[in-house]
């Protein structure tokens, strides 16, 4: 006959083993409901604020022929783009362009045929009317993209490492539960800000932007890395996203002048130089919506200030876009000047 102690020991052991096995077999059967205060069903999209600011933009570039021969060269001048919440009209240009060129990502370029004698220099100027819109948009219950849009517009590119295992894990952790593309984008933005170590540097793309710093995963870089990491995570989750390039006006004045000049070995920049990049998301029923993570250390989706001037986008081109303001093959650009005169607000 078995002793009571033996029976008790065996029973406890069997129950313990069974509980451990059970715990390993349990899979999460459902998410907990989040955003429980949602009471509407239709998508709700509303501009809470829209305000236009108009500038006369003068952009001037000093061209120089560094060679000992007369050079006939094509010179390319980038213009701010006509896009959502930005309207551009060319008023005047100092030379007649040969033609106007648009890239597949919507970049606008004037192409000039310019002849310069050996060592010769020339100012190339253009005046534009530029209207930028400050806006605040509320977007609730917006649907995700349809199948063909997800399939065609959320793949990887050179700077967007959508197959990277680390990004896949992060996306799963922060995004699968998201109810709609805007809330998914907000979670991505919050994650980036929570893990950001902002350091100006050459663009490295999302693949190189994540590092382990003090034992913690960190987004290391500047506005371009922030934008690249955002676009990568968004695309993994099926949100159509791209990078906008342009200028950020660091001063809120009636006249803002910024410049960049070539020195013997480098470039010298004005203190208010504001080359910038930021992500955008495509929301059905709205179109492209700007996302800003570096203004006030908060996630701004559809909350866009009038200080952004868009010069180009990067979405379809596999290797990214080249945005140079004014460049040629043989003729060099020694100086870049941008004067923004606010004429109406």
């Amino acid at each position: 006959m078995l002793s009571g102690k033996l029976v008790a020991g065996l029973v406890l052991t069997i129950i313990g083993v069974a509980m451990m096995l059970w715990s390993f077999s349990i899979q999460p059967q459902s998410f907990r409901d989040v955003d429980l205060n949602i009471t509407f069903k239709e998508a709700r999209i509303e501009y809470l604020e829209r305000h236009s600011y108009t500038y006369v933009l003068e952009q001037s570039f000093l061209l120089r022929n560094p060679s000992n021969n007369t050079v006939v060269d094509l010179v390319y001048m980038w213009l701010p783009v006509n896009a959502s919440n930005q309207f551009v009209k060319l008023i005047w240009t100092s030379l007649t362009p040969l033609y106007r060129k648009s890239s597949e990502d919507g970049v606008e370029i004037l192409v000039y045929n310019i002849s310069l004698p050996a060592g010769g220099a020339l100012w190339l100027n253009a005046t534009l009317q530029l209207t930028v819109e400050e806006y605040r948009l509320t977007m609730d219950n917006t649907p995700w993209l349809n199948y063909s849009q997800v399939r065609e517009n959320t793949g990887g590119k050179r700077y967007w490492a959508v197959e990277n295992q680390t990004y896949l894990s992060i996306a799963r952790e922060i995004g699968f539960e998201a109810r709609d593309p805007v809330s998914a984008s907000r979670r991505i933005g919050e994650w980036i800000l929570d893990h950001l170590d902002y350091q100006p540097m050459w663009r490295r793309g999302a693949e190189q932007a994540l590092i382990i710093e003090n034992g913690r995963l960190t987004v290391f870089g500047d506005c371009e890395e922030v934008a690249d990491v955002f676009v990568t995570l968004a695309r993994i989750l099926g949100v159509r996203s791209r990078v906008a390039h342009g200028i950020y006006l660091l001063e809120d004045k009636d006249v803002v002048t910024m410049w960049m000049r070539r020195t013997d070995s480098d470039f010298e920049l004005s203190d208010n130089w504001g080359g910038h990049a930021w992500p955008q998301i495509y929301v059905p029923q709205v179109g492209w919506v700007d996302v800003e993570l570096l203004e006030g250390n908060t996630v701004k989706i559809g909350d866009f200030s009038q200080y952004h001037v868009k010069y180009g986008f990067e979405e379809k081109n596999f290797l990214g876009s080249t945005m140079l303001y004014c460049q040629a093959m043989y003729i060099e650009t020694d100086a870049y000047y941008f004067i923004f005169r606010r004429v109406q607000s």
Partner: protein, 373 residues
């Protein structure tokens, strides 16, 4: 013609911070680019890129070892560029390298070096040859039996408007017939050679060079194999929450490969899709906002590699809130472990008792002699 070292400026101007970043002086040079593409019977195009570096004065830099080794070291990115002439995503194109980057002293490269309208000839080139399976590229489309369209993009000009390919030489081998061709933009110059077996463009500047070349070819008798479907998934379940107007869908990867799956929800007025990446055997829930009322019908489908892998039709019905276990798995595991340890401890005590009871008398210690007794 490709301009190198320009990226320094691109990166500088797009840096938000106003500080000046120091740079090391680097040699600026240009690269003459001649591309030959042979379209073969088996649906493969053999592409050879010849590169010749030169400076702004038009002097050859083929003897500059640093420049040549830099070009040779960039073979991976050069292959990507060659693929990008034929496809929008090089990672999906099937190709193999026929001949790695090498210095070919006998090759000739044509290029405009600054004198308007004139093509100079450079002796020698760094050459690289690859073969691309056309049916794995985005440029390739079947128009009719044995008739195909191939759209070639000058990727250099697409990326940087100042760059272009100096010479593009298309040859049609064996039974491959050129039926038609076109190039754009409209102001680009026509080919210098155009016959049934060859098209050649000599591009002296970017404005004259076409951005796109579209060919209509007859490739008789070829059967392109299609890649067998590898991704597999199933819809495990769905749960409607009327409180949060959302539908949760559970998907499991039932195949042997990790991959992206697209879950599509069709409701009246909307089609929504979510993308999820799953390892083999892994499952995950994704959430959709719902725009219709309870009791209405929705369809859930799952796709992988462009193919539908599963479909479920659901009537939206609110379920009772999911009762989560009061204890999570970690607590359950800990209690189990404690019980096991306790059980084992009690069993050990029992075994010790048993051992004491079974000690034979002969092994008992002898009684102590006590002289006082």
């Amino acid at each position: 013609m490709k301009l190198r070292k320009i990226m320094m400026l691109v990166l500088l101007v797009s840096t938000l911070a106003s500080l000046t970043l120091s740079t090391k002086p680097q040699l600026n040079y240009l690269v003459a680019l001649n591309m030959e593409a042979e379209f073969m019977n088996n649906g493969i195009v053999r592409v050879t890129l010849k590169q010749h570096p030169f400076d702004a004065s038009g002097r050859s830099l083929l003897s500059n070892r640093d420049v040549i080794s830099e070009i040779m070291d960039e073979e991976d990115s050069t292959v990507s560029l060659m693929l990008l002439f034929f496809t929008s995503d090089p990672s999906k194109a099937a190709y193999h390298i026929v001949s790695h980057s090498k210095l070919d002293e006998d090759a000739h490269v044509l290029c405009n070096t600054g004198l308007p309208g004139v093509m100079d000839q450079f002796e020698g080139a760094v050459t690289l040859t690859i073969e691309i399976f056309l049916n794995t590229t985005s440029s390739f489309a079947r128009l009719d039996n044995d008739v195909y369209q191939i759209a070639i993009v000058d990727y250099f000009t697409l990326r940087d408007p100042r760059s272009w390919i100096d010479v593009i030489d298309l040859r049609f081998k064996g039974d491959v017939k050129l039926l038609n061709f076109s190039a754009d933009p409209s102001w680009s110059k026509p080919p210098s050679v155009a016959n049934s077996t060859r098209l050649q463009w000599l591009n002296t500047n970017e404005a004259d060079a076409p951005d796109n070349y579209v060919l209509t070819l007859e490739i008789p008798g070829i059967v392109f194999s299609s890649v067998a479907r590898r991704l597999k998934a199933e819809i495990l379940g769905a749960r409607f929450s009327n409180v949060s107007s959302s539908l949760l869908v559970n998907i499991r990867n039932t195949g042997d490969e990790r991959g992206f799956f697209i879950v599509v929800l069709s409701e009246a007025g909307y089609e929504q899709a979510r993308k999820i990446n799953l390892n083999p055997g892994e499952s995950a829930w994704v959430r959709f906002p719902i725009h219709v009322e309870e009791g209405e019908e929705v369809t859930v489908r799952v796709f992988g590699d462009k193919e539908q892998l599963g479909e479920d039709v659901l009537i939206l019905k609110t379920e009772a809130p999911v009762e989560f276990l009061p204890i999570n798995t970690l607590v359950l595991r800990s209690i189990g472990l404690i019980l096991v340890m306790l059980g084992v401890f009690i069993i050990i005590l029992y075994l010790q008792d048993m051992r004491k009871e079974q000690i034979p008398i002969s092994e008992a210690p002898p009684p102590m002699w006590n002289p006082s007794s």
